[in-house]
Symmetry: C2
Subunit: 172 residues, 2 copies
DNA sequence: TGAAAACATTTTAGGCTTAAAACAATTCGG
DNA sequence: CCGAATTGTTTTAAGCCTAAAATGTTTTCA
């Protein structure tokens, strides 16, 4: 392949964007690294939750959402916050109700809606787990300076916004 | 609670580390943001793979690993690279062999080992999907400048190293 | 050499997850 | 007011995923 082919294509182009097969290897590598980091940390947290508290990560995540909502949440709210499917939440909640961690009742004003809350037991257990969980996270990120943390926060916010925009573009 | 309690605790401490309940809220927020970004992008890629190619993300990921290894890989290699359990790979490979995308054979020199490769069909289909996949990723990260990308790469590398160190600490 | 350790994979049991279809209740527009 | 669209949840079918135990193979080393 001649080294000038890209330039030739560019000369061919008219007013619109160039159709040269562009190189997006950098973005691809970034995505893989992002995924690796997340998978690594998630796996570590999952293992520690299991070992220390015999609880699964999805259960912990669901309880974390409810801990921030003393008045409860609807299943839809939970589903959106956790970014998982509705059906997923149904099953997760069912098991947590069975184990006595959640209370679930039908809304008085809208009989479609199920409102779930942490029970006293659920809240107590979550708080206990959350305290230790926070130290694990701190340890996993221990080598980052406060400046690194701030900078990562900023860049990830930008990344999130970019991805949301792209997702919206596709849906429209 | 008096505002000086932290200092009092520090005075109480002896040679070892202070037991003051430290504030790790920043790291926690960082972790949640990292998770959100990854979940968002992963969900988007999953949906597009399904819509355009009727393929699942785990299948795509496995084929991506094999595409980089013309001489094939063992199941253990795949399991380590993908950071998933051995049993997971067994099932994934089984389905991909059934659909004609993978070839699997027992190693001649070590009968414990299964070596898998992409078939001609598997490689062709993967290349077709990968080309489009790359444009999706580029679009999802479109609002990041080259500098942002470099900086994120650097900080995520640091994060990965930190997490690996922490994981190793726990295992020892 | 031969038992024990290490290794590669599979199996098992249970839970997680999704997309799509089904169902139920509410809201909207004519 | 009533049919149609919308909203909230559950169900279904299939696949993904893990940890732990089981199976078969190779290596180690006493």
């Amino acid at each position: 392949m001649p080294a000038v082919s890209g330039c030739i294509n560019m000369l061919d182009s008219e007013t619109k964007a160039v159709e040269t097969p562009e190189d997006h290897a950098e973005e691809l590598r970034l995505w893989l690294r992002l995924l690796t980091c997340t998978t690594l940390i998630e796996g570590e947290v999952r293992g520690r939750l299991r070992q220390r508290f015999d609880v699964t990560l999805p259960r912990f995540d669901l309880m974390a959402q409810l801990d921030k909502a003393p008045d409860g949440m609807t299943l839809s709210d939970v589903s959106k916050r956790m970014m998982v499917s509705n059906g997923n939440v149904t099953g997760l909640v069912e098991r947590l109700v069975d184990s006595g961690h959640l209370d679930r009742r039908t809304s008085e004003t809208d009989r479609r809606v199920q409102v779930i809350r942490l029970t006293k037991l659920g809240r107590a257990e979550f708080r206990r787990m959350a305290a230790e969980h926070e130290t694990w996270i701190a340890d996993l990120f221990a080598d980052l300076t406060p400046k690194d943390v701030r900078e990562l926060m900023r860049l990830l916010a930008k990344t999130k916004a970019s991805a949301q925009k792209s997702a919206a573009r596709r849906r429209s």
